[in-house]
Subunit: 93 residues, 2 copies
């Protein structure tokens, strides 16, 4: 079993109103000195089979086709750190 | 400047309809052997000051007060890997 994490974030040049809303709420809650907040999505995917490069490639395809809108979003694919000991080459997507 | 990542996921015992919707869509798109999908949120926070334990503690407080609903969600706080070289003790929240 391979556990893969896919992080999907808006591209840096795309306005992030959710992150801005969080950032603006923070001073009211007593948190100062917050320079920037960006909000995105995190997916934890469990795939059949070994935690190898093929599993990462499958997760990348899934991110590309379903999880991210690559016009405005970027994604990164990696093994769940909890699985890191099983990974020989922890390539990031 | 400290860059901290906050991952917010539903607790394992809480039903995740978003993750289930993704999982059910995958076979239709030709992806088989997906055992589980969980969907959560990822926040990237930039804080004034050094990337030290105090910055992590501030991020943890922010997660606790604003980013996560700790009744149904759990969160993990860590430095952005891009900043890892500046961190002496990469404690996870």
């Amino acid at each position: 079993m391979a556990r893969v994490v896919v992080d999907v974030m808006l591209k840096p040049e795309i306005l992030d109103p959710q992150g801005q809303a969080v950032q603006r709420a923070l001073p009211r809650l007593g948190f100062d000195g917050i320079v920037d907040v960006r909000q995105g999505k995190r997916f934890e995917i469990e795939l059949d089979g070994p935690a190898d490069e093929a599993a990462l490639a499958r997760a990348r395809e899934i991110a590309d086709k379903l999880l991210a809108n690559t016009v405005i979003e970027q994604y990164a694919v990696r093994f769940d750190p909890a699985e890191a000991d099983r990974v020989t080459e922890p390539a990031a997507g």
